[in-house]
């Protein structure tokens, strides 16, 4: 098992370097003039340009720039923006919010999705089954921002006023529930379908037949034998989803005005703060890759058959 972990980690490194290099090149190498718009309407003072170029290593060849940057990152130095704001500091304020949002989304989508999937998987056909199938289809098709806007409008003060939909600058968990639901809505639908398919497939398997033939109570046959096998693909999906939700949070944060990473990236792009953008995107890529590594390991934990290769 240890060798498997090591191998996956080693595979991760070139991919991480490749992806972050791509991002770095896109932000710093492609635009003609990284300094446009930084000093107001007029072009920047040459001495300013010289100073910043030195600081950001812009005179070095691209690869060298990149490695110096990664070197800095690994020591926790995310650099500063053109305005002298510490990127690292900004990230440390916004990141926990987005992370909380992501976790809430995953929990909501897991609970609702799995329950819906299990109920319909056990009992094919019937009203509940069709209801779930249709509504998941619908949720999968709705772009996240539409769901966000609609729910915000109709549940909030302007609509049926069921809840306060505004989110403060340091949001509590309660405030993040609706945005979390919106963020996870698409995946929730997918989780429900995945669970349902998995249960339907496993229901007819030989080991379930054996458990029944052993005279085990139905609750155990379903709750222990069936579920433990059926949930493997679902749980692994949830793991990867956590990684990808971070990236997708941008839209949700936009709709609900949440001060998370998404907002930070947006401002970074609007204001052409390359340092901010590369810093955040690199972090998110790392999170995504680590999440997929963890999922692979999780898979090995959940399914003993793949543990011993």
């Amino acid at each position: 098992m240890g060798r498997y972990v090591l191998r996956r980690l080693l595979q991760l490194i070139p991919v991480f370097l490749g992806t972050t290099f791509l991002i770095y090149a896109l932000v710093w190498a492609i635009p003609q003039d990284p300094f446009s718009g930084k000093c107001g309407q007029r072009p920047c003072d040459p001495s300013y340009i010289a100073e910043m170029s030195q600081k950001l290593n812009l005179n070095d060849p691209l690869l060298v720039q990149y490695f110096k940057y990664i070197g800095n990152l690994l020591t926790g130095n995310f650099g500063t923006t053109f305005n002298g704001v510490s990127v690292g500091e900004q990230i440390s304020i916004s990141w926990p919010i987005t992370f909380k949002l992501g976790i809430i989304a995953v929990i909501i989508e897991a609970v609702i999705g799995i329950i819906a999937g299990v109920l319909t998987g056990l009992r094919k056909q019937g009203f509940l089954d069709n209801l779930v199938l249709v509504s998941t289809l619908f949720l999968i098709s709705l772009p996240v921002f539409v769901t966000g806007f609609v729910l915000r409008l109709y549940l909030g003060p302007q609509g049926f006023d069921i809840m306060d939909t505004s989110v403060g600058s340091d949001p509590t968990i309660g405030e993040l529930i609706l945005p979390g639901f919106v963020l996870g809505s698409l995946s929730m639908a997918y989780v429900a379908r995945l669970t349902r398919t998995s249960i339907v497939e496993n229901r007819r398997s030989d080991y379930v037949r054996t458990a029944i033939a052993k005279g085990q109570p139905q609750t155990r046959v379903v709750g222990v034998h069936l579920l433990r096998n059926s949930l493997i693909p679902v749980i692994t999906f949830l793991g990867t989803d956590l990684g990808s939700l971070m990236g997708g949070a941008i839209v949700t944060e936009g709709v609900f005005n949440i001060n998370g990473i998404g907002g930070l990236i947006f401002r970074g792009i609007q204001e052409k703060e390359g340092v901010m953008v590369t810093g955040i995107v690199t972090l998110l890529v790392l999170v995504y890759l680590l999440a997929s590594l963890l999922v692979d390991l999780l898979y090995a934990v959940l399914d003993p058959r793949i543990r011993y290769e």
């Binding site: 037949r209 029944i212 052993k214 085990q216 433990r228 096998n229």
Partner: protein
């Protein structure tokens, strides 16, 4: 004579599907007593597994429907019992082992877990006691290093060892009757022999009744006391094992025996039974074997043969059963 442990009487089962109604069992009757082994012999589709599953109550109903018959265990008709009562019989009164242990055992739980589950959930044993008993059971089925292997997963065992583990699991609640559905079909020939020996030993130690479902005549010859031959959902012949081999009482059994390769008849063509078993949605009129029967004549196409009593518990469903027996 003591009452048989299990008595299946005139069992009729249908599968109702979009493509039609398949008459899977058409009047199956057999019985087993404690300490004896009944072999149920037949091709794929003959209904031997379905009968076993109906006895255990693990058929999917629908699309299966039991349209007639009774299954008496210890004198009581299981078909008249509640779902909960039937569940209690499983594992404890009647246990079943299956053909492919790799798919029949749950891949994500250890073998120990799956054995102990029976003891903890159904007998209320403590964890420690259950673990001890489970190791004992693995020992009884001759798995070396039982203590070490109790925490292994099914895929970590070899085919034969896995089958032994499944047998151990089935014995956990000390059942009175064991149904073995093709227990050796997926195994190598040498391992087959070992498993059959193990089953025979266990049976005599516990005075268990055993129903051995198989299509393999070789396995039957070694282990069975009596044989019921099935074809198209019907028992076509019941006999004591020696009698069956000495003088088959039904053309189907005859053909089966003739198709066995023999070492003393070298250089000759292997005999086969021409044709295919009938589709169960469309069973031919008269005797279902008539399209393939070398002895078929006009009555076979029009009349379903009744059960002919050939004396000493032997029966056969053939119009000319007496003739067939005499020939042997």
């Amino acid at each position: 004579m003591t009452q048989p442990l299990l008595e299946v009487e005139d069992l009729h089962v249908e599968f109702r599907t979009h493509d039609g109604v398949a008459k899977v069992l058409n009047g199956v009757s057999y019985h087993v007593s404690a300490g004896e082994t009944l072999a149920v012999l037949g091709e794929s589709g003959s209904g031997k597994s379905v009968t076993a599953q109906t006895i255990m109550g693990i058929l999917d109903m629908p699309p299966a429907f039991i349209t007639n018959g009774s299954i008496k265990f210890r004198g009581e008709d299981l078909l008249k019992k509640s779902a909960e009562e039937r569940r209690e019989v499983r594992g404890e009164g009647i246990a079943m082992i299956f053909q492919d242990a790799l798919s029949a055992l749950n891949p994500v739980f250890t073998v120990g877990f799956q054995i102990e589950e029976q003891l903890k959930v159904r007998r209320g044993m403590s964890k420690a006691d259950a673990r001890k008993r489970a190791v004992e059971l693995l020992d009884q089925v001759k798995i070396p290093n039982a203590k070490g292997r109790i925490s292994d997963y099914p895929h970590q065992f070899s085919g034969g060892m896995r089958q032994r583990a499944m047998i151990a699991m089935s014995l956990a609640l000390d059942p009175e009757l064991l149904i073995a559905d093709e227990p050796t079909t997926a195994l190598d020939v040498t391992v087959q022999a070992q498993i059959m020996d193990l089953l025979a030993e266990i049976q005599s130690e516990r005075d268990m009744g055993m129903i051995l479902i198989t299509h393999d005549l070789g396995v039957v010859a070694d282990v069975a006391d009596r044989i019921s031959v099935m074809y198209a959902g019907r028992i076509v012949e019941h006999a004591d094992v020696y009698e069956l081999f000495r003088a088959p009482g039904h053309p189907y059994t005859e053909s089966l025996l003739e198709s066995l390769p023999r070492l003393d008849l070298k250089g000759q063509e292997l005999k086969t039974i021409k044709g295919l078993p009938p589709s169960l949605t469309n069973i031919p009129p008269g005797c279902p074997f008539n399209p393939r029967c070398p002895r078929a004549f006009d009555r076979c196409v029009t009349e379903v043969p009744t059960v002919h009593n050939l004396g000493m518990g032997r029966t056969s469903r053939c119009h000319i059963a007496e003739e067939v027996v005499a020939r042997g």
